[in-house]
Symmetry: C4
Subunit: 279 residues, 4 copies
């Protein structure tokens, strides 16, 4: 199997677990990457909680969110979020959809999230809203139909993230590390904004500050430090994903390896060791 594809699978598993460990994802939410070799495809896990995603859970989809191989597992009902955004945004290489507690209050109150500390500028000065009811009337709020995904992509426009009323948020990035840092910093920013509101007033960064601070999360210094930090915390929690394509349910001979890898990952909690399954 080409290394780039296998690396991408691992990165999705790692980012899913990382975002779960940092309080962004829980039982719900998902992370995707555009296929490293084919911009007309993207990679997304089967329907599984982010904290548990393994590389072998990651499947390939066309941009109209059809699985490339016939699926033998449940798929995320909301995968059109990813497909439609990859379709609409040629610059986007990574997408995250989540229900993070930090942003839900804003998605309920309809109060805009604004950058209030320097790292919060990572998603830009403006985060647009999208309310499924505007175009589709009463629904169960799942983004399932292609037209719903395209409507969301239109609301996202050229921005870095979109707040989904009564639902959560979707964040994009030009690579996975940008996606992860934007997602986490947007949540921290939201928490600070809510508490500043409780103190009586919220004074956001100026436009000029927001523009200049918007690229802080991409400084090599910052990328290196944060990625090491979030990875170490994930390792400490014993939740690093196993490596290798043969984990999970794709082949019988891999099942034992996966179980071993998973429990050893758990056992490696606090040891900071990433266990590698031989390919």
């Amino acid at each position: 199997m080409p290394n780039a594809l296998q690396d991408a699978r691992y990165e999705i598993a790692l980012a899913s677990r990382m975002l779960a460990n940092e309080g962004v994802l829980d039982a719900f939410g998902h992370v995707s990457l555009r296929h490293p070799a084919d911009p007309g495809r993207y990679l997304l896990a089967r329907s599984r909680s982010p904290q548990l995603v393994e590389p072998a859970d990651v499947l390939e989809f066309t941009l109209d969110s059809q699985p490339v191989e016939p699926p033998s597992v449940h798929l995320f009902a909301e995968r059109v979020i990813h497909g439609c955004i990859f379709e609409a945004r040629r610059d986007v290489m990574a997408v995250c959809h989540h229900h993070a507690p930090a942003v839900l209050p804003f998605a309920i109150a309809g109060v805009p999230i604004m950058p209030v500390f320097h790292l919060g500028a990572a998603v830009g000065e403006t985060v647009p809203f999208w309310d499924q009811r505007d175009e589709f009337g009463d629904t169960n709020l799942l983004v399932v139909k292609p037209e719903e995904g395209r409507s969301l992509a239109r609301a996202l426009g050229g921005y870095a993230a979109v707040l989904m009323i009564h639902h959560g948020a979707t964040v994009v990035g030009r690579d996975l590390r940008e996606l992860v840092s934007r997602t986490i910093f947007m949540c921290r920013n939201a928490e600070f904004q809510l508490q500043a509101q409780m103190l009586g007033k919220v004074v956001p960064l100026s436009s000029g500050e927001a523009k200049l601070a918007g690229s802080l999360n991409a400084l090599p210094n910052v990328v290196g430090r944060t990625w090491e930090y979030w990875t170490m915390r994930l390792a400490e929690a014993g939740r690093l994903p196993p490596r290798g394509p043969t984990s999970s349910k794709t082949s019988s001979s891999s099942r034992k390896t996966s179980a071993t890898a998973s429990s050893k990952t758990s056992n490696n909690k606090r040891k900071g060791i990433t266990r590698r399954t031989r390919t």
Copy 2:
């Protein structure tokens, strides 16, 4: 012992510990199931903190909350909550009573909990209130007498949950998984609603949205993913219940097994292993 009954005992222990692990139950609260073979009976643990409940703690009661066998242990004083609800609601198979921190503020302020995100619709558009003082004047707020339990059941009516003023809440389900997901999502919803209130306004789902989103938690996809997630978190915390009916205080030969099972469960923390005691 019939497998269905033993399974039900295990499910109650599992759900009790799961809800404790997810911050709903603490030293207080309890989960019951209607007897799988006799709708005129229900299953409920002896008086013990939910986090510690084992299958052998689970006893049988008639719908007027009399223990089927003479008890040698303390019983929950508030078991009439369960009996009266099973009596009044033929459709209900599982009941949870709790004092979750997420809902207490609403049960104190008398502010209605409304669905504010899609999964919060799992308990429906309306959660009625019940104030023990209305019918019974000043009491110690425990629901102990049959007439108190029946009053609560009347307030619950056909709804999925009832908020108990100055006390907590009681949630019902047509099966255990529905009960657990309703209970957890209602708590998350309450937390988001309180924080949206702090931002200045709360805009709930529309009636149509609430109706359609109300069954999200029952989608096979969602049930599978959440149950795996909550179970894995419980296993990670080393708090899975032991299996088997001979744990706890029901027989002397089981006491050592129980202690072994319990400490091994604790030792299995982080290993993701469920230890099975032979039946």
Copy 3:
């Protein structure tokens, strides 16, 4: 050494660690017991963080807070809190002074804590305030002088607790378990009250309800369940105190035992085992 005294030493160590584990005590705060054989003495640890207190840390004091034996260790500067309360209140057998985050906001805003859920009635309908500045002008807010301790005891009066402006709280009990449950439930109550305030209004229990619910925490059923729960959580965290009088700094031969006991206590985290040092 008489068993009652050794048991009391252990109970203080246990309660200190328990209250630290439940978020009431941190680096600061202390728990005392009236001497089981001499009402003119009380037991209190040397100056040490509650989480680390061991039975051998517990010293004897007269009611005017003089150590019975010449101390070779630092003493709590604020021990007059305990001595003066034991002096003024013949019914009190246990005292806790703390800076719990749950109550500090009330001790800053001067907003009374009122019972808002049934278990919150454990400290009664009224918790009086005490402001050191009223009688003593500007001080460093430590309660160090006998007259300051007596002033605090006067403010406590016959109540179960007193809120100390800009400082924290002091809680009393007729036995240790009542003290611990009152302390914890008062904190939970304060948290719920603050959040109900954020929802817009706080409706306390009626006087009648508060009186009746005030003894819930003393029901055998409740005492048993909560004590097991809090103890099990402490054991799970590997923080049970070692038993035995020879731990800590009272004799050289005990130092190694203490270190062994302490690290073995840590190693016993998740195993639920209390290590006993031979007397």
Copy 4:
């Protein structure tokens, strides 16, 4: 290597990890000490998350923030904060820059932090603000240029801390333990102040109380108790730094030692053992 310098390196690693463990530092923030033998130099780690800093990460800088030896690693872009403060304040021996969640709301709302409980007086009655935009217009909010660091030092003046609008805070101390306790108590104070604000009003300590309580954190009793507490919590989390100068990336023969030390530090979680690498 002189012991004082090696001790200082260890202290910086310890304090960085301690402040990370206490929720003050995260992926960002840094702690410095003035060089023990040369007031014209200071010690600061290379660019690394505080939780991961090891003694060998700690480098020497002149007061104009030039590294004394040619660096082979990334440096903190904001080290001028430390250099400029050491230059302006002859009394200061330790500096911490952070983005603690507890203070960010105040640095956003522009609401002053005031001592509201006795230990909160550790940073004094007044914490001034500094807004980078006042002198420098729109920037990315990093304090990188010497003139920016000098501007910050002017705002700090003779105070114990300065709040940096949209950024965080910087705290100073006359020794490391004063720095750490000031930093932690300022955060706790801020949390209490925000919650008192939610209750409706904030009543700070009087000027006289603030002055007298301002030295509580320096009482030997308090220093000993808190340092033991914070150290024990760090040890319990398995995050004590390794000792010795050969860890980290300064020499190839040390790399293996460092990795071993790091994973053994992790493995020592819950055992309370500090692993010493031979010098």
